[in-house]
């Protein structure tokens, strides 16, 4: 009995949706007011406009980079959390999907060291001789 039940679950997860028909767990889980999407849409427009203005007004140096990264992270967060519904998923899925890309930051760190080293070698050994 139990084995058969598990078999059914593994084979036909879509049955689950079917069994509960409209307004089932699945549908209810991702039903949000249209207003929410429109608000997020508006914010994405505002944030994009802000990041464009950073370039338009020619802001430079650390202020430019931190503003660009700030707007980027806010936009990415809104898209993933609201549009992709990650905010309403169970943590088991959210962590499985969001944690691995965070580890890419380690890779970024490694490549920053590597490219600084390459740059140093190029400056030292391939500088145009006067």
């Amino acid at each position: 009995m139990t084995e058969a039940a598990i078999h059914v679950e593994a084979q036909q997860p879509s049955l689950q949706l079917h069994a509960h028909a409209p307004g089932a767990t699945q549908a209810k889980g991702q039903q949000h007011p249209i207003r929410l999407y429109l608000v997020v849409w508006g914010w994405l427009f505002v944030l994009s406009a802000c990041s464009y203005l950073v370039d338009y007004f020619g802001i430079h140096g650390h202020l430019r980079w931190s503003l660009i990264l700030l707007f980027m992270i806010l936009k990415a967060g809104l898209i993933v959390a609201v549009f992709m519904h990650m905010a309403w998923e169970r943590l088991a899925l959210a962590y499985a999907i969001l944690l691995p890309p965070a580890l890419v930051l380690v890779f970024v760190g490694i490549m920053v060291f590597e490219s600084e080293y390459t740059h140093l070698l190029r400056v030292v050994f391939f500088a145009p001789t006067a």
Partner: protein, 240 residues
């Protein structure tokens, strides 16, 4: 029997939350992703792998840009356009960004109407999304043409570090391919929605499985991901 099993996994009322929930979900000796169908879970896992691909492109771009001794071409100038006599920096890319964000908005609403089983609005919004996407690809083709005419090649360009062209064509090309595939995907699913496949649970011609409105959300996940990648490309390649 099936009914009992399904209620078991479907709508078990008390599920732990927080860290205890993660441990319970993963150690339950069943499926780790409760109340998420296989289709949605697999799309998320595919998107995770795609994240790594784009991460590698952006990382190699970063490495090239940081390690070159030749100045990097100024994207603000390279992508500037003359519109009505005014010289506006990066304007084409800004318009492309707004178009892609708009397409994400229409997509999110299509998912919403899909779960309300509003067949006509769902299909219309999906087609609007596809139209925005096609516009985006068209503008990208225009941008590529302009740059190629100006002499940008994967191995060199008139303004500075030769790696600029290679990074540009690889990153935007791969993203544009994703958008194109997304447009095709959207049109295919919108056709099914329009025809009422998910209301009558018509079986797919290839898989012969019944379709559900959830596929609209899965298509949406892919589409939002394409927009998400553009957020990073816009910030790190065009604005940096």
């Amino acid at each position: 029997m099936a009914e009992a099993a399904l209620t078991n996994i479907g709508a078990s009322p008390a599920r732990l939350s927080g860290w205890r929930g993660i441990a319970a979900d993963w150690s339950s000796d069943q499926r780790a992703f409760k109340n998420v169908s296989w289709g949605k879970a697999m799309m998320w896992i595919f998107l995770l792998s795609d994240t790594f691909i784009f991460s590698c492109f952006l990382l190699s771009y970063m490495t090239a840009r940081m390690s070159t001794t030749v100045p990097w071409p100024n994207p603000s100038e390279v992508f500037a356009l003359n519109i009505g006599g005014a010289h506006i920096p990066l304007i084409l890319i800004a318009i492309m960004t707004f178009i892609l964000i708009s397409s994400s908005g229409t997509m999110a609403m299509a998912v919403n109407f899909g779960y309300r089983r509003d067949r006509v609005r769902t299909a219309a919004l999906m087609l609007a999304t596809a139209a925005f996407g096609a516009t985006f690809v068209g503008m990208q083709a225009f941008e590529w043409t302009k740059l190629i005419i100006e002499g940008v090649r994967p191995w060199g360009n008139p303004w500075g570090a030769p790696q600029f062209g290679a990074s540009f064509f690889m990153i935007t090309g791969f993203h544009g391919t994703h958008v194109t595939i997304g447009v095709i995907f959207l049109i295919a699913i919108a056709r099914k929605v329009w025809r009422g496949d998910f209301d009558v649970e018509r079986r797919g011609f290839f898989t012969s499985r019944k379709g559900y409105y959830e596929i609209v959300e899965i298509t949406g996940l892919y589409w939002h991901f394409v927009d998400l990648v553009w957020v990073f490309i816009f910030a790190l390649f065009y604005l940096w």
